[in-house]
């Protein structure tokens, strides 16, 4: 059935895979009707999909550096788009974003604009030029363009800080899902998640991660869209929710007015489990001060263009032209999920709030709600909570608490869908978190093995030795990430936003000016990276420890401070030191033209 090279058969291979996955869903649905328990369905979904990824990872094992670092530079445009979309959409996008919108409404939708608008910057400012450069990693570009180990090392530092913050959030997400689906304690589930992540990336590096990410994208997009369409049809809101939920959005505003936003007292809130919250803000009301919205969007956009695990996906395309188009496809595949997140939040809210629907719980008696099957399940997992604060016996809007990540995971059950859909959603969340974690762990370990070990410490190392070092680092970084994730310092969405701010503080201007400003030199870039990262971090620590901040910049948008310092210091230091030599200027000229040889060779 499959003849010839794997690359030529991609549509057929992934077509079969998608068909097989749909058949698996149907078999599970039949098994549920035949009496299979919810717990078993969850276990089947998560373990079956993870095993498939591990199989793909093993089949893609390699002993060549260009396959390990850049998947042999032969990933076709559309498939690279799918892989990037999976790489990009993390546990935060899949599990936490709809929850953020559910609780905070319009304000959190800045994330949607920020996480998509950033791709315009990627396509126009960076991706094609970095592809032409022919680097293996982002610090590889910085190190070669500016010259010198200090610049290279500074880039590795920024990359590690940003990606490591991000990866702990992803391992946290895999742990949350694995603990719910497999019914094991979170502290153990974190390491189960880690083992799955490492299986995908260890043997084949970028090549293995690419082909597992395509498979993960297919699972996660089916798992996200199916419940949205199903619930919308179920409650009669319209067969194509994206164009037909306006009445529901208006109805939510009406119900919010009716129930009112009652502020809970501090004493009452102390009884609520950690991390759970009630709806406190109107769903679609726009803030009178646009700055909060715009500053968050700006940080996410600049962060997108500076995050190395995304940028390195465009190193894997066959040419500059395909790199550019591939950015468009990436955003298209991301758009499919992101445009559905507000719809899911809307459907989830209306299902819970509307007394006319069978699923509505607000206004019902507390004992009735506490007797619901799904409430008991999610309450046991410490993701849901109700309490009769005012003692009137009925559940008010301010008395229903949920964890942000529960919105996506629990909505199918709340809306009365069969459990097979919940199992599917768990598998999708796992796919989203794993694919991003893989990209991040690989970005960090590649930077350390290629840029620090090979380029700085031991430039004479043989290929075999380099790849062993890369794999050992991969495992070490994974374990470090899992250990920190088990501590649960910050929520999933919060850590991810921090990662964007770190990346933006240190890398945005050194990357962009590296292509667009010939006069930029090594001392300037080093100053930009280090001062940007230090000032951003200092601002974060100041605000976290009770500082008042300035200009309305919060702990979620500290990247604005870091990037501003980075830009100013980079320009000032570049101008007071000597201009880059003729060879470097020539290199920048060559990068700006798609034709001709890459700056760095195929194997380097």
């Amino acid at each position: 059935m499959i003849k010839g090279k794997f690359i030529d058969n991609l549509p057929k291979v992934y077509g079969l895979y998608t068909g097989g996955f749909l058949v698996f869903i149907i078999i599970m649905a039949i098994a549920e009707q035949a009496g299979m328990t919810a717990k078993m369905i969850g276990i089947f979904f998560v373990s079956f999909t993870v095993l498939i990824y591990a199989l793909i990872g093993w089949l893609s094992r390699t002993l060549q550096t260009d396959a390990y670092y850049v998947a042999g530079r032969q990933v076709p445009t559309v498939f690279n788009g799918m892989a990037t979309a999976a790489d990009w959409m993390s546990g935060a996008s899949f599990v936490a974003m709809a929850g953020g919108i559910y609780f905070k409404g319009y304000g959190y939708m800045a994330l949607l604009v920020g996480w998509t608008g950033g791709y315009v910057l990627v396509a126009s400012l960076l991706a094609p030029y970095l592809r032409k450069f022919g680097c293996y990693t982002v610090p590889d570009f910085i190190g070669t363009r500016y010259g010198g180990n200090l610049a290279r090392f500074s880039a590795v530092v920024v990359l590690t800080v940003a990606s490591f913050t991000y990866v702990t959030a992803q391992i946290n997400a895999t742990g949350t899902i694995a603990s719910v689906a497999l019914d094991i304690p979170f502290e153990i589930a974190v390491y189960v998640g880690l083992a799955s992540i490492l299986m995908c990336s260890m043997l084949g590096g970028m090549r293995a991660v690419t082909w597992t990410q395509v498979a993960q994208y297919i699972v996660l997009i089916i798992a996200y869209l199916l419940p949205v369409f199903w619930i919308s049809n179920n409650i009669g809101a319209g067969f194509f929710p994206h164009f037909m939920l306006a009445d529901e959005v208006a109805r939510i505003a009406e119900l919010e007015g009716q129930f009112g936003f009652v502020k809970n007292s501090a004493a009452d809130l102390a009884t609520v489990p950690k991390g759970l919250s009630a709806i406190t803000k109107a769903h679609s009301a726009v803030n009178a001060t646009p700055w909060a919205f715009i500053s968050l969007a700006v940080c996410m956009m600049a962060g997108t263009a500076s995050l190395p695990h995304v940028m390195m996906r465009y190193f894997t395309t066959p040419s500059v032209r395909t790199a550019r188009r591939s950015v468009g496809w990436s955003l298209f595949f991301i758009f499919l999920l992101y445009s559905s997140a507000p719809m899911l939040a809307t459907l989830s809210k209306i299902s819970l709030m509307d007394p006319n629907l069978a699923t509505g719980i607000i206004g019902k008696s507390i004992t009735e709600v506490q007797a619901l099957d799904w409430y008991q399940n999610w309450n046991q997992a410490k993701l849901m909570f109700v309490s009769d604060f005012n003692g009137n016996g009925t559940l008010e809007l301010n008395e229903f608490f949920m964890k942000g990540s529960a919105v996506v995971l629990a909505t199918p059950e709340i809306a009365g869908l069969p459990y097979v859909i919940s199992g599917l959603v768990a598998a999708g969340g796992m796919a989203a978190a794993m694919s991003t974690a893989d990209g991040l762990v690989l970005a960090i370990s590649n930077a350390l093995s290629h840029d620090v070990y090979y380029k700085i410490i031991n430039p004479k190392a043989e290929t075999a030795k380099r790849l062993i070092v890369a794999r050992v680092l991969l495992v070490l970084i994974g374990f470090a990430g899992a250990t920190i994730a088990a501590l649960e310092i910050q929520g999933i969405l919060g850590s991810v936003i921090w990662a964007f701010d770190f990346a933006m503080s240190g890398l945005f201007f050194p990357l962009v000016l590296g292509v667009w400003w010939k006069r930029a030199n090594a001392p300037g870039a080093v100053a930009g990276m280090l001062l940007g990262l230090i000032s951003g971090t200092a601002y974060l620590i100041w605000v976290r420890s009770g500082g008042s901040g300035f200009l309305g910049i919060t702990q979620l948008t500290f990247g604005i401070v870091g990037a501003a310092v980075s830009l100013v210091s980079m320009i000032v230091v570049s101008l007071i030191t000597t201009a880059p030599d003729a060879a470097t200027q020539k290199m920048v000229d060559d990068v700006r033209v798609p034709s001709g040889k890459t700056i760095l060779g195929k194997q380097h």
Binding site: V113, M244, S284, A297, V320, R321, R324, D589, R592, V593
Partner: protein
Amino acid sequence: MSKQEQHWEKTRNLLFITLAIWFVFSIGIFLFGAEMQESNIRPFGYPLTYWFTCQGSLAIFVILIFWFAGRQEKIDDEFGFTEREGDQ
């Protein structure tokens, strides 16, 4: 002006146009969020600002990138800077 300088000037102009459109739909319109929300233009019945944040701006970015890629390919072709087999 050399061929390469001309190519770069056109590329830079395309960048400015792309970033201007990007700026309008990622930052510009949200300065007027409250006013737009009250407007009578309601795509698919949604309030205007709400619609832009969850669909409109996102879709415009997708189209913008493909448009940009097409224009840049034309510029590269015009100066004969398109990659050929064996370049990489």
